[in-house]
């Protein structure tokens, strides 16, 4: 086999120059002729009935073009997983920030002024912010059709858990809780829309999944899907927040239709922090049965998911937490009970890891407890129970390749695990080390839209190629990696390839950029589409050169005869001559469907064609006088299958580590329990890691060459974040004996643990 020329190479991003100059256009950078500025009026109440809305004063303000309330819209709710939210509230508001009315005006200032002139008569209702209280009889009902505010109860039962516990020597029960976190994408949400002269509603919005956006916008605007077009634009960070749809696109579209002009809504940072779909807080009860030798026998997990005011993709997130808990380490019996509960708060949604970081924090913290009680080294306990190639997990995940053991080996060596100081430590500053691991999908067959990716290639008579890719690129370098794959298959320089993505009118439909699926699934589609195009080129050249196809090979835009390298044909000439060429364009397309099974209502299925693994080690120093926690070092060994572009893969891991560290120690969306207002409404209050906070990091890429992945690759986007908080928590315990049961882990809790008399 020829050595790879583009795959596995540290190739710069295809948008690099546009990004280092700032010229890569984000939605707010677009200059549409006659653009109006849209603004959303939001509820100041956590829970209230809308008695009436008077927009007449706002409409009289010069420069105001349109004022719109819920009753001015078609009155259709978003589809989501459970349809429960109007683009603009009609009957009730359910959290502080719920959209109530919208304005389009000639300037942003006028739009803002107009918001202040809209009079809304609210009848405030009692609100509930705690999911456990929301479940009680007599709690305020947030959606009248949901008894006890229960969105739904999710049960999973695999194997025979009771028997598993009966066969266990010891059973451990613990409770953990995790916090809400906003994604804090650097680009605040922005969407622009207009109805073009052909009557097509065109939308520009930074998204991971343009086809979800198209579906939802067409639905709430009561338009056929084919008359909505999502347009290509750069996206300033995704991390799940733009994974399906965001509610601003619907409002923008409705304003554009109503005003007959282009409209743009760009969120303020405060809106971005307080009204977008955040990471769900979980309360987790975990019960695990083990043999004295450390063999895991059974696991039961009960979670309460704080859903906030609307469902969005909460059930999918909860289901994935269950899948993760069933599949982390070999465990024969597994049971799960999840209550997804409405509260009068900002709603949760997808966030990198999709429920896995919550579950893993509980699993990995408890695993260290088990190791200590049984007197087994935490590393040995993990290796003993680690997933292995060929395993079938209780929920049906079929693991083809698994590098977890090697990952654990690499991490433990790098942090000198075996030589670590054991037992009580002394002095003001105490060091500790901790381990945690993760398993993660490469695409996930759980949505009714199906699980597939499609890529279309067009080669022109100048020998250049355009790649049409339906999913977005939120900055993950996904479009670069897809371009590398096409370059490799066609032996064509990167510069000769142009990639067009997420234009729903021209790109074939793909599910989207989430579930760590793009490099894997779009990658396979690209590889196969390119392989087919290669065959077309060879076929045409063989006829022209009157030699057999087998005797030809591709080289940098030329098709060369092996026996006599002076006999060549350019790609362009081959396109020109091919009988398959239509209008001087040679087209090839591939619709890739991974060998997976759609998730059943009982939660059993092999939802992904490959599973990635990660082991992480954390080294911390705790100041016993202040409780302050400093992460000194993070070590990661990740089974990436094959690193298609090592810079991109490292970038995904490094970025995930920073988010994982923030998740562990600082980031928390705090809501005032009397008013329901978000207190941490700006970047200054959410405490994201800065360049000053990043510890030393070592990253090892373990290449297991997955048989289904393109060139052996697996997904890498999310898994880097999943075990980080757990590894840090375990390191804190190792340092000072404090077992964190709650994220984020606060210095004051460590302090009060060490100085109980000061509490």
């Amino acid at each position: 086999m020829e050595p790879l020329k583009y795959i596995g190479k540290r190739i710069p991003e295809i948008y690099a120059w546009a990004k280092v100059t700032g010229e890569a256009p984000f939605t707010d950078d677009l200059r549409l002729p006659g653009l109006l500025f849209g603004k959303i009026l939001r509820s100041p109440h956590a829970h209230a009935r809308i008695r009436s809305i008077n927009t007449s004063r706002a409409l009289e303000l010069p420069g105001v073009v349109t004022v719109m309330t819920g009753t001015d819209t078609p009155g259709i709710k978003y589809v989501a997983q459970i349809s429960d939210m109007y683009p603009l509230a009609i009957d009730k508001v359910r959290y502080v920030g719920d959209p109530v009315a919208a304005v389009a005006a000639e300037t942003e200032e006028i739009a803002e002024e107009a918001l202040a002139l809209i009079e809304v008569d609210y009848e405030p209702l009692p609100a509930v912010f705690d999911p456990c209280e929301a479940l009680l009889d007599g709690a305020p009902l947030i959606h009248e059709d949901r008894i006890n505010n229960l969105v739904l109860n999710m049960k999973r039962d695999f194997g025979n858990v009771d028997e598993g516990f009966a066969q266990s020597d010891r059973v451990f029960e613990d409770q953990f809780s995790t916090q809400a976190v906003p994604h804090c994408n650097m680009e605040p949400r922005s969407s622009a829309a207009w109805k073009n002269p052909d009557g097509v509603l065109q939308i520009w919005t930074g998204t991971q999944s343009p086809y979800f956006v198209r579906k939802e916008v067409a639905h709430v605007c009561n338009l056929p899907i084919s008359s909505v077009q999502v347009m290509e634009v750069h996206c300033g960070g995704g991390f799940g927040s733009r994974s399906k749809y965001c509610e601003d696109e619907g409002v923008t579209a409705l304003l554009a239709i109503r005003s007959g002009r282009p409209v743009r809504i760009t969120f303020t940072r405060e809106e971005e922090m307080t009204t977008t779909r955040i990471r769900h807080p979980f309360i987790l009860r975990i019960k695990t049965g083990v043999k004295l030798d450390g063999t895991l026998m059974a696991r039961e997990m009960q979670v309460i998911v704080d859903k906030g005011a609307y469902c969005h993709y909460g059930p999918a997130v909860t289901g994935y937490a269950a899948g993760t808990a069933a599949s982390s380490y070999r465990i024969p019996h597994f049971r799960f009970n999840g209550d997804i509960v409405y509260t009068n708060k900002q709603a949760g949604g997808p966030f990198r890891g999709f429920g896995a970081p919550q579950a893993i924090f509980a699993i990995e913290s408890q695993l260290d407890e088990i190791a200590e009680v049984l007197g087994i080294d935490p590393l040995e306990l993990r290796v003993k129970n680690a997933n292995r190639s060929g395993d079938l997990t209780p929920c049906g995940w079929a693991i083809t390749t698994c590098g977890l053991e090697e990952c654990l080996e690499k991490v433990s060596q790098a942090i000198n695990w075996k030589e670590r100081q054991k037992g009580p430590k002394e002095g003001r500053y105490r060091q500790g080390k901790g381990l945690a691991t993760a398993i993660h999908v490469s695409g996930s067959n759980v949505f009714p839209d199906g699980e597939f990716s499609a890529i279309e290639l067009k080669m022109f008579i100048d020998g250049r190629v355009s790649v049409y890719k339906g999913s977005g690129d939120t900055g993950t370098w996904a479009n670069t990696v897809i371009t590398q794959i096409v370059a490799e298959e066609l032996q064509l320089p990167m510069e000769s390839i142009r990639l067009i993505s997420m234009d729903t009118e021209t790109t074939p439909q793909s599910l989207g950029s989430f579930a760590s699926r793009v490099a894997f699934e779009d990658g396979n589609a690209a590889k196969m589409a390119a392989a087919q195009l290669k065959t077309f080129l060879l076929e045409s050249a063989a006829a022209a050169l009157q030699v057999s196809m087998d005797a030809l090979f591709l080289q940098d835009g030329m098709i060369v005869y092996r026996e006599d390298p002076s006999k060549t044909l350019s790609y362009g000439d081959s396109v020109f001559r091919s009988p398959r060429t239509v209008g001087h364009i040679l087209t090839s397309a591939y619709h890739y469907v991974p060998p997976t099974v759609r998730l059943t209502p009982k939660g059993y299925a092999n939802v992904s064609a490959a599973y990635a693994f990660s082991a992480q080690g954390a080294e911390v120093v705790v100041d016993t006088q202040t409780g302050e926690i400093q992460v000194k070092r993070l070590v990661v060994a990740q089974d990436v299958g094959k690193a298609l572009n090592p810079i991109a893969v490292e970038g995904q891991i490094e970025g995930a580590l920073a988010q994982g560290m923030g998740y562990a120690l600082t980031e928390e969306l705090i809501v005032d329990r009397t008013t329901g207002k978000v207190i941490t409404d700006c970047l200054d209050r959410i405490m994201l890691p800065t360049a000053m906070d990043i510890p030393d990091e070592s990253i090892f890429l373990v290449e297991t060459q997955d048989p289904e992945g393109p060139y052996g690759a697996k997904g890498v986007g999310e898994i880097g974040l999943n075990p980080t908080a757990a590894a840090i928590a375990n390191a804190i315990y190792d340092a000072v004996g404090f077992r964190p049961h709650k994220l984020p882990i606060k210095a004051e809790e460590v302090y009060f643990f060490l100085h109980p008399e000061k509490r």
């Binding site: 280092v20 700032g22 890569a24 605040p188 900055g475 490094e654 360049a691």
Partner: protein, 165 residues
């Protein structure tokens, strides 16, 4: 409204500014300098960083009127594709960006740092970038890129010194 005149990347530009308008909004909305990004509008994120009269500032915390007659440098003015700035080259080579939204501000903060301190150590680089938030990269590659640009620049100036001799 006041008519103001200022130099952007070496070119004199004029436009109308409201008394309360920030330099950021003036640059983006009046002069279409969309390479200057608005991440928060409160001075928390650094995405709107520009260099004004040699000093890096948050353009969201500066009034447009304060920029009358000023020399402003944005990321677009640092280099050309054929003759890129060492920081641009280093950011590209090290892969020091993902979504690219914070990148223009990050590069300008790095430039301000290197202009003052051409050979910063790791701690100085981190401090120099601490006002710019990046949610994608985890900063490691950014730090490497700034260190690499610092080496590149000093090599280039060494070359020039050799030629001068």
């Amino acid at each position: 409204m006041k008519h103001i005149r200022l130099q952007i990347n070496g070119v004199w530009r004029t436009g109308w500014a409201n008394p309360g308008q920030t330099l950021l909004d003036f640059l983006r909305e009046e002069l279409n300098c969309t390479e200057v990004k608005k991440g928060c509008g409160k001075g928390d994120c650094g995405a709107c960083t520009v260099i004004m009269n040699g000093i890096s500032i948050d353009s969201c915390l500066t009034l447009a009127l304060q920029a009358e007659g000023a020399e402003i440098i944005t990321a677009k003015g640092l280099g050309t594709k054929d003759n890129p700035h060492p920081l641009q080259e280093a950011f590209i080579e090290k892969g020091a960006f993902q979504c690219g939204f914070c990148t223009p501000g990050m590069i300008l903060s790095a430039k301000a740092l290197l202009d003052k301190n051409p050979k910063p150590n790791r701690e100085e680089i981190r401090r120099g970038l601490s006002g710019n938030i990046c949610r994608c990269t985890g900063y490691r590659k950014i730090e490497e890129a700034v260190a690499s640009a610092s080496e590149r620049s000093s090599n280039q100036s060494d070359d020039r010194e050799l030629k001068d001799q």
